[in-house]
Symmetry: D2
């Protein structure tokens, strides 16, 4: 298999999945396409957790089992890129790069299916619903994806790293990724008579501005926290005072004390604000993926192997991030680590953040992702 072919395959796959994004827990066509590709390699995929796919590739003799995980779901974002491979599933988009993750995991599977001169087993698996807590990892584990696994590896494309570079971090690497849902309940009425109503839209707006102070004044400045309101919906018509507004959001923290503080302050501000505005509220706070903790020794191996592929200067230590990842659940069970593949490229115009409607990747990074993945797996098989 020439490099050129490999590139063509990984890019072809990435573009296929980019054009066909699917919602978390509903990746039916995605799973079907993955199975087809794997079967075309002469391998035998098996379905788990409804839309998850697992394939085991056996080497020439017995040895360690190394798992490589790709997440496969898309986001409810309407793509704003004007590209030939633009999402055809309106309202959904691979805005977090899982299309790349699938493509590279297939490419890695293809490599090992064609190059069996290793000891042990390479398990490549495709997990649903990373974007949507409780997430697909818990279910995959329940259905046995970690059985007999010695080490596990995950790879994520990062818009904060230039194409050609690899990022790593030992120990706690990201955030508690919690979600909340808030409903403000006022009293509707005619738009011209605010004094006879309790205006839920105004109250929701005030709540969002008041909640800024959780991060600006309540959390220890040397600790990280984010409170983001991701959606807001309320009201019926321009001239009717709305009786209900619903907001959802995410709260990110890097330690348990701050997590508890953010949660209690959200409730506290709601209580005070609803008291002063004569309104009521519903508040649901769901603790999401916990902080992911990478094995230091395996992280060290990844950094070293990656240096061999991209050069020492292109391997960079990352700060602890605010993102959530359900890969952390695997690391609670099995030794392993998660690392990052740079995909931004200012010259080519790939500068948008993950999750934005204009997110896109420098596809020249994808064969690098394949090569690093292959090299890391080989190193761990040999360890």
């Amino acid at each position: 298999m020439s490099n050129r072919e490999a590139t063509e395959y990984v890019v072809k796959m990435r573009r296929y999945f980019h054009e066909h994004p699917e919602e978390s827990f509903k990746e039916y066509n995605t799973a079907k396409k993955i199975e087809e590709e794997i079967k075309d390699m002469g391998l035998s995929p098996r379905r788990v957790a409804d839309t998850g796919v697992v394939v085991d590739i056996k080497g020439k003799s017995a040895g360690k089992m190394v798992a490589f995980r790709a997440d496969i779901d898309a986001l409810p974002v309407t793509e704003k890129n004007d590209v030939v491979y633009k999402s055809k599933n309106s309202g959904f988009m691979h805005a977090c790069g899982h299309d790349c993750h699938i493509a590279m995991a297939l490419d890695i599977s293809r490599y090992f299916s064609a190059n069996r001169d290793f000891n042990g087993i390479v398990r490549v698996f495709f997990q649903p619903a990373e974007e949507s807590p409780p997430g697909g990892a818990v279910k995959m584990i329940q259905e046995g994806v970690l059985e007999d696994v010695d080490y596990i590896i995950g790879q994520h494309v990062g818009s904060d790293i230039p194409s050609g570079k690899i990022g790593y971090r030992a120990g706690p690497s990201n955030a508690n990724a919690d979600s909340f849902r808030i409903k403000i309940k006022g009293r509707g009425g005619h738009g011209s008579a605010p004094h006879k109503s309790v205006d839920a839209i105004y109250i929701a707006a005030e709540f969002i501005t008041l909640a800024q102070t959780i991060v600006s004044r309540k959390v220890d400045p040397v600790k990280a926290a984010v409170v983001t309101f991701g959606t807001i919906h309320g009201g019926y018509r321009h001239n009717i005072i709305g009786d209900e507004v619903e907001m959802t959001g995410t709260a990110r923290t890097q330690d348990m004390e701050t997590r508890a503080l953010v949660k209690s302050e959200l409730r506290n501000i709601l209580e005070g604000l609803c008291k002063l505005t004569h309104s009521e509220f519903d508040f649901e706070y769901e603790e999401g993926y916990p902080v992911m903790v990478n094995d230091p020794e395996i992280t060290e191996k990844i950094a070293s192997v990656a240096s061999g592929v991209v050069g020492k200067n292109n391997v960079v230590e990352m700060p602890q991030k605010m993102g959530g990842e359900d890969f952390g659940y695997y690391l609670q069970k099995v030794r392993g680590a998660f690392y990052y593949l740079g995909i931004s490229n200012e010259k080519k115009g790939f500068t948008s953040s993950n999750h934005s409607p204009t997110f896109d990747v420098d596809e020249e990074a994808l064969p690098i992702g394949t090569r690093v993945g292959v090299a890391v797996i080989k190193e761990l098989l040999a360890s």
Copy 2:
């Protein structure tokens, strides 16, 4: 026709229309039912303006033509009343009492069709889309509803007047009822990375709180103004920073200078806020129904006639209101006046404001509305 029968008819009709509310400009079934009822009276309705209905009832000899107008559209409100006549068209509700207006106009038609001993012509007409500017009145006028009309009368149910009373006001009686649509345009991104995005939901929230100062600090305190945000919609998902939020609202004023001020301050606040938040905006401001000006002489007649029906103590002068009404367009062409029928009743629990999801009326007021309407028309025919 006994009183009892009349009551039964007006209540039956009111409940029918209450159960079957329709959107502004789409009152097809409503118009059809009105036509059927009118035909049942032996009269010949004609369709105008797509969903409008007009019927002329001729007296025993020639004379003045007096028009009586009812508006027929419902609001996009989901009814929260637990009543046998609850709206069956989910998401729509006669929350402004137009069901009553139709029922009383039919009842009045029924009266005059059975009692022809008057000179002149009574024109009863049913207008679409009072709730949705540009409104149905303009179209009705274009299609000739005012031709040959000498005087025009309109009646509205008011939750601010107890059942059994009639309200009137000479001269300027309500508000400029304008609407606006605002879109905040930020830059989307991952919910955990606010520093890389421009959070349209936060900006929209800040805008709503800042806009409070138009009324509290910018408008002359002795002048009336309302700025209400009726809807807000934005974002995709709890963990994505939304790039767009759309808000609609209504601005109410009672004079032209204040109207201009409110409009310019909305734009001014948007410009300053978007500058400081690195965002952009769209702003559309539509001038809606102008202030309605009742003819003082005809208002005087209405007050006098109403005193005969409900007693002098039950006829009350109303303050200038903040509501909008496209009846004002008729009054720019023909002499006439608009008056109010009390329908609240604290003992019976009818206390919710017009436009609220729990709005309901004391149905014992409806035959009073019919009787006042009939008496006013007779007085004007005779004048």
Copy 3:
């Protein structure tokens, strides 16, 4: 006495008092100067209420007693006008025109002392502390200033009326002028550690923004209300989180129900906000001067007499204002009215509002004020 002389006197007096403003209840030098001027006219002033001055001017024979009142205190404003008669008492300024009121009242006294061919008594009196509730009127009444008085007249310079015009209004003419004092009590600490403190300055800021909604959303839009924060003081140093902030302000309303609503909402917002910010508060609300109610018949006389002086077109009906005036206390005891003397002049650059540090008056209006005052008094003496 020629007109020219009169002008020179009233302007000279106005400038003298403008240069020497004094604080409410402490107008010692002002009262002394007034006494001297009155003595120079051959009249016998008497002191009341510490810094008040009263003088009775007897006509040729017995008759009615008509009182004319001038208020004499200045405001704690630092003058920003660059004029030869600029305030010499730094930090105080006649920014509400009481210097003019004194000057015209002296000028009127001078006129009647020189022209005794009237029946009855003209009582001119100079009242302290109109700007500072509980105000000087209450004390003046207690000390007998209204004894034997048949009618009472007051005149105020208004920046909202062009020089050369007179404004009048029958019935309720201004506002309940209440004041409040609020202290926010947090917990101090190092400026770098907000999470260990409760930041009273932030909370005060949030309170001021939240309080905007009393006027924008809680008060009936067709009713007038103002909530102004006039002072704010808090904190110790840029790098210390302040534990206390004190604010004072004024609340203006034109009816009792709205007055009660504004007061209760201020408290309500404080309670909710302090709950959500873990802080405490002190709240004092003092009901100030009540709405002033002018006698309609006497107002009619004033308008008529003023037309004779300035021409019918220059006599204008005023809207009900938001200002407070303790003249209302006199009108609760004796028949009378209050009217306005125009003093703005765009061409000459006199456009600043009363109470602003650049307030100034077109002095050509002052002799008009004298003439209208004299004419009104004569009319009432003759009635």
Copy 4:
């Protein structure tokens, strides 16, 4: 010298200085008292930088010179502790523990003056104005306090460390401590006429709430930043709309990029807000003490020596803090380090933060501070 005596001396001194706090750059009596104490020890103090004091204590023979620095100024805080040693200089308080710093530095001087069996010179110096940038350190350096110095040591009492413990940190240890001064310039007027004025107090309030988003949304969540408004003053009187408000505050950051962002966003928000409120502003931003960088090797020595005094378990590594310190200027010239002395004690009720009006220390910690200081100096003299 017995331990008991030593304790008595350090506590006596601490209480003396606590009772007599003085403003930054005006520590005249403090310096005088320090000189007297030093003279009583038989030493020869010299004045530098107006209110600074330096004393050199020579050992038995030549060697290294080790400097020990104490800062001596107090804060403009009104003490709220009810203690026998309460501040007698109303409005000022040693709320940051510099009273302890002086007392321990005197105690250390006393020790070395009585125990000369060391090689080299111990230079103890007392620096004015640590609390008030540009600070006293710059001036002390200009006047030669670092001449011939080999190592420099500073010690600070910390309310975040329990009494009995010592805190240390190598490398960057605190924050850029910048200050700003903002004036909002509106247009004054009568409190009842907001529409004719531009209300500087409302605008300042809005600015403080808007500025919260610098930390909550603009700064990278994994980077530390604080924006505190320490003072606010504006307005003249409850019923006058204020034309000016002045605010001061501090901005804390731990890196240069975030420092620049905070500064530019403060300006940016001011510009946008003043545009939308028709007001103007002044903005001064002064970069204060830079991040202090402790020498790792000397920090290691301090931790090791401190372990010998208080036990290994009582020596703790500190996180990078948000406080500022002009000790950093010395470390730019001479090798050295800064460390922390625990003084909080929950059981005894010493829990208030530095800079709060109820800040107080567990005095049993003070002799520990002396002992650690003496031991560290000895170690460095011997190195």
